[in-house]
Each structure stands twice: as structure tokens, then as C-alpha cells.
């Protein structure tokens, strides 16, 4: 497929999925809508994560920081401002935090970057907890003004589908190419004329803008928020896991994995929470070992490859167990010795 056909395919899939998700509140039960909401939240979070971290290979664990900042902003704003304004402001504040954080840590790579983003997330969480305790005198906040279920759902759907559309678009721009170049060889990209510092901060801020907006929209779902809930590091980890298992560099990978995860989460978490966590871990290990490109890289040939590998492995074992291998080895040694 050439570029144009790919674009048409991506847009058609995007259109179809959006339309389908749009219909869910119409016929789904409360349970289904709530599951779809979780799913859409992770679609938005991990697609935007993959947009920057997937292509540049900067592993950020700061998603929950932006999510939490967005959630707190909208929780504070909702009493005085409208729904859309609150979300926009949440997104804006998260973006500002990302620009500052990015300017401070984006010159680091690999583990250092990952650990520092996580550390800063914890720093923000504790700073807000401290502020709430010592200045406002409360730990949590009850959200009195809460929009309807469908409003929240449609907002998160709009955010998720906008994020996927953004991914489709950015892949085809100079900015997207710069991100890929940074991921492949940052210094080379620099010597070819890319202002990598600017591009990295912009990409990081873009991720944060989405995460902040999603946080702002999701805060009302809980009706009561405290730093423990909205800065929950698990949100950040799960975003990363979904993106990695789905294929962080791909467009549809994070989306596919988000669907798989939310199905797993809703079916397993209630019945057996430990099994859910173990499944997550197992899926990650399997995908890293056998499917480094993520779920999105699964093709018919991948299955055939696995089947052939397994068969070859069995052939080898049978050869070994029949004793023929040892005999051949012994014969070869005797021949060598004369």
C-alpha cells in the first residue's frame, strides 16, 4: 500500500470506530458504558503516550502527573466555570507542567529519564497532598457539580478520537518525522538540521495536553478526588504497558491493547484482582519476548513463524531424547581423535 492508500485506510478505520463508540450509550447498559469509558480513557492516554514516547523512545512515566494535574484543575474549576472551559484549562495546566518538566529532564535518556519523570510525578503528588493538608485543611475534595454520564462519555470519546486523528496526522508531518529521527539516532537527526530540544519539548507537551484533558474529564466520574486517586502511579504504568503491549511505535497498537486491557480489567478485576495483575505481567513478558513490535505487529506470518519454531524445537528435542544426538557426538569425537 502506498502512503495515500494507508491514509485512506486509517481514516476509514478511525471513522468506523468513532461511529461505533458513539452508538454505545444508545444501547449499552451502565456496565458497558462504564467499561467503554475506561477503554476510551486508555485509548487516549496510550495513543498520546505512543505518539511521543513510542517514536522517540523516551520512556516517560509522568502520565499520571499530567492526568492528576488535569483532574485537580477541573475539580477546582467546575464550581465556577463551564465543562468545556474546565477541561481546556486542565489540559493547559498539564501542558505548562510538561514544558517545565521537559526542559528540565529531556536531555537525559533511557533509565534516567524514566526514573526522573516518575520521581517528578511523586513530587507533584506529595506537594499537592501537603498543600491540601496544610493550607486547605482537607485531603480530598467532593465534586458537587457533576455532568451527566453521557456528557462525560462523549467528552472522553471526543478526546480519544481526536488523539487518534492527531496520531494519523502527525505521522505524516515534518514534526512526526523529526520524532522518528530522534528515536532512531538523536545526534544524527540534530546534524541533519532538527532542533531536537524544541521538538522533544513540543512532543512531550502534546502528550501532556491529552493526558491533562482526559484527567480533567475523568475526575468527575469519581465525584470525590484526592491525590492518591488521581495521581495513582498505576494509571501511568498501565498507559505504558498498554502502549508497549500494543506496539508503541504503531498507530493502532495502543488502541487494540486498550480494548483488550479494559475487557480483561472489567471481567477479571471483580472476580479475581490478583489474576488481573498477574495477567498484565504475563502479557508484558510475553510481548517483550515474542512480540517486540506489539500486538499491532501480529500478522498471519507471525503465527506461522511461531508454529514452525515450535515444530523445529520439538524435532530437536526428539532427536536429543532418542539418543541419536549423543551417539553422533560421540562418533564425531572418536573420528577426530583418530
Amino acid at each position: 500500500m502506498n502512503d495515500r492508500q494507508l491514509l485512506v485506510r486509517d481514516l476509514l478505520v478511525w471513522f468506523g470506530l468513532t461511529g461505533w463508540a458513539l452508538a454505545i450509550p444508545g444501547f449499552g447498559s451502565d456496565f458497558v458504558v462504564s467499561m467503554a469509558l475506561t477503554c476510551l480513557m486508555y485509548v487516549a492516554l496510550s495513543s498520546s503516550w505512543g505518539l511521543f514516547c513510542g517514536s522517540t523512545r523516551y520512556l516517560s512515566l509522568a502520565t499520571s502527573a499530567f492526568f492528576g494535574v488535569g483532574a485537580y484543575t477541573s475539580a477546582l474549576m467546575l464550581e465556577s466555570a463551564g465543562w468545556v472551559e474546565s477541561i481546556a484549562l486542565g489540559s493547559l495546566v498539564a501542558t505548562a507542567v510538561a514544558v517545565l518538566m521537559g526542559a528540565a529532564v529531556l536531555h537525559l535518556r533511557g533509565t534516567y529519564f524514566a526514573v526522573l519523570t516518575f520521581g517528578m510525578t511523586e513530587l507533584i503528588r506529595h506537594a499537592i497532598t501537603y498543600f491540601e493538608k496544610s493550607v486547605t485543611g482537607t485531603v480530598g475534595r467532593v465534586l458537587a457539580v457533576v455532568p451527566e454520564r453521557d456528557t462525560i462519555y462523549l467528552t472522553v470519546l471526543a478526546l480519544a478520537s481526536a488523539t487518534v486523528l492527531l496520531s494519523i496526522a502527525i505521522r505524516r508531518t515534518r514534526f512526526g518525522l523529526a520524532l522518528v529521527g530522534i528515536g532512531a539516532d538523536e545526534q544524527r537527526a540534530q546534524t541533519l538540521g532538527v532542533n531536537t530540544r524544541l521538538v522533544k519539548i513540543a512532543g512531550f507537551a502534546l502528550t501532556a495536553a491529552v493526558a491533562g484533558a482526559v484527567g480533567a474529564a475523568m475526575s468527575v466520574r469519581w465525584t470525590y478526588i484526592d491525590p492518591q486517586t488521581v495521581f495513582n502511579p498505576f494509571i501511568g504504568f498501565q498507559t505504558v504497558l498498554i502502549a508497549l503491549i500494543g506496539g508503541a511505535t504503531t498507530l493502532w497498537g495502543p488502541l487494540i491493547a486498550a480494548v483488550v486491557f479494559s475487557l480483561l480489567a472489567e471481567t477479571l478485576r471483580l472476580a479475581a484482582p490478583q489474576v488481573y495483575m498477574m495477567t498484565l505481567g504475563l502479557l508484558l513478558i510475553l510481548s517483550v519476548l515474542y512480540l517486540p513490535g506489539g500486538l499491532a505487529s501480529l500478522r498471519w506470518d507471525t503465527w506461522k513463524g511461531w508454529r514452525d519454531d515450535t515444530r523445529a524445537w520439538w524435532r530437536e528435542r526428539r532427536h536429543e531424547w532418542s539418543g541419536r544426538k549423543a551417539r553422533e557426538k560421540r562418533l564425531a569425537r572418536e573420528r577426530r581423535l583418530g
Partner: protein, 280 residues
């Protein structure tokens, strides 16, 4: 320094690079003029590559100044050097392995250092040699047109070296800095590479600075040689003078070089047949 009256493209003034206690480049001052073909030689660890890194913003000099076309670029990032028309290759080819050969070239063209279009001329390309007009032009020049659709990782090492040059050319430079582009090539490939480099200078009018360990080939093709030894510049003269310079003989070249025939091999100026490298 005022030979030929051509403008100075890049000038270093007492550029020094220190790594802890080690002085890798020690107060080197040189000027490169438009259209020159300059070689840099020196023993291993002489600071050649570090000097290149300093010249392209990859390594920030500890002290000294860097002037590109009269503008002070000391301490600027590599992209600013690229924007001033300075392109470089790396010693070990650093191509984008997962992208196709054509995409590797396209990358530089997208971010092309020198502004290619002036908005008031509505897309008319300014100041770009015909051979660097697009991906196909550059691929033809380096002879990789047939490999355009392959992922760069699938190329042979010598083809990757050509692609590395192509990527540098894709920023449409005024000045090209080549860091051991012929390392590991066979004798025939080496001659081909030297011819390509001459062609870049003669036909595209680029200033070329060329680091190479294949000293004889280098000395035959360049007009000026800079010799680095332990971070210091110990000579900066024509090849004929350099091979007789006692300090250079002592530090690097040895006595035998004085006897080697440094005349340019016949046919060197012949245009390289496009794709000759690819067909071998």
C-alpha cells in the same frame, strides 16, 4: 591567509576541547575557504574526530571561538551548524536503519539546513545545485538509485558509507566534513570514493574537509593538508610541503612518504559513472 580571495566559510580560533584532564584538541586555529578541498591527517588519538565534533556543534569547545561565514556559532547546537550549511558524516555510518534509503535522504531534505525556498518566490528553489534538487538527484550522485526502496540496514557497509555522504548532502550544504568515509573499503572502492569526493568539490562547488587514514590517496587529491598530533596543529600546507615537514615526518608519516608520487592519478577528474558503485 588571503589566497585566492575566496570568502572564509568556517574559521576556528584557538578551539580547545578538554575531557577532564585530557586535552583532545589544543588551541587549533584554521580557516576553510569556499571551494577548498582540505585533508586532515594525524595518528590515532590525534583529536581529528573531536575536532570535527567541535566544528559541527556535536561537541561544545571548552574554549575558543567558531565562526561560520562570519557569524559566531560557539556553543550552538548541531542543527544551527546544519542551518549554516555545514554537513558532516560520522566515522561509523549512522544511517536510519529502519527507514528506506530514499527516506534517509528525504529526512535531510525535509529539514534542509539552508533555506531552500524564499516565500516571496513562491516555491522557487534558491541556490541549490541541480544534483541536490531531490532524493533521486542525490541517489544518482552517490550511485544508490537502485537501492532506493531497501531499508538502509540492508545495505552493505560500503553502500552505507555512500548513504552517509548522501544524508550529509541532503542538507544541501556549502561545506562537507567527511570523517573517514573510506575506512574499510577495498582499494578499488577507495579510488571510487576519492573520485566521488573530487566530483562533489569540482561539480557542486562544495568546500570539503576530509579526514582519512589512507594517507597516499588523500594527499593525491587534496590541495591542503592539516596535520594534527596530540591535539595540536603541527602543519597546515600543501601535500608536497607536508611530506617534507620534519615535524610531520617525525610524528606521523615517516621518511618513505617523501618518495611517494603524489601526482593525481589520471582520469580522476572524470565524472563518476552514476550507479557504478551499485553494480559491483
Amino acid at each position: 591567509m588571503a589566497e585566492g580571495g575566496k570568502p572564509v566559510l568556517l574559521e576556528t580560533r584557538d578551539v580547545t576541547v578538554r575531557f577532564g584532564g585530557l586535552v583532545a584538541v589544543d588551541a587549533v586555529s584554521v580557516a576553510f575557504r569556499a571551494g577548498e578541498l582540505v585533508g586532515i591527517i594525524g595518528p590515532n588519538g590525534a583529536g581529528k574526530t573531536t575536532f570535527f565534533n567541535a566544528l559541527t556543534g556535536v561537541q561544545r569547545p571548552s574554549s575558543g571561538r567558531l565562526l561560520a561565514a562570519g557569524r559566531d556559532l560557539t556553543g550552538a547546537g548541531p542543527h544551527r551548524f546544519a542551518a549554516r550549511g555545514l554537513a558532516r558524516t560520522f566515522q561509523t555510518p549512522r544511517v536510519f536503519g529502519e527507514l528506506t534509503v530514499a527516506a534517509n535522504i528525504g529526512f535531510g531534505l525535509k529539514f534542509a539546513g539552508r533555506r531552500r525556498r524564499r516565500w516571496w518566490l513562491w516555491g522557487e528553489e534558491v541556490d541549490v545545485p541541480w544534483a541536490l534538487r531531490d532524493v533521486a538527484g542525490i541517489l544518482g550522485l552517490i550511485g544508490l538509485r537502485e537501492q532506493a526502496a531497501l531499508p538502509a540496514a540492508a545495505l552493505t557497509p560500503s553502500q552505507q558509507r555512500l548513504l552517509e555522504i548522501g544524508m550529509a548532502l541532503s542538507t544541501r550544504p556549502r561545506m562537507l566534513l567527511l570523517d573517514e568515509v573510506a575506512a574499510g573499503l577495498t582499494e578499488a572502492e577507495l579510488q571510487e570514493m576519492a573520485r566521488l569526493i573530487r566530483r562533489l568539490r569540482d561539480e557542486l562547488d562544495l568546500t570539503v574537509v576530509w579526514i582519512e587514514h589512507a594517507v597516499v590517496t588523500l594527499l593525491r587529491h587534496v590541495e591542503r593538508v592539516i596535520v594534527l598530533h596530540q591535539g595540536r596543529k603541527i602543519a597546515d600546507a600543501t601535500p608536497a610541503e607536508v611530506v617534507r615537514d620534519p615535524e610531520v615526518v617525525e610524528a606521523y608519516l615517516g621518511d618513505e612518504m617523501a618518495e611517494v608520487d603524489l601526482t593525481r592519478p589520471a582520469g580522476a577528474a572524470q565524472p563518476l559513472e552514476p550507479g557504478a558503485e551499485a553494480r559491483r
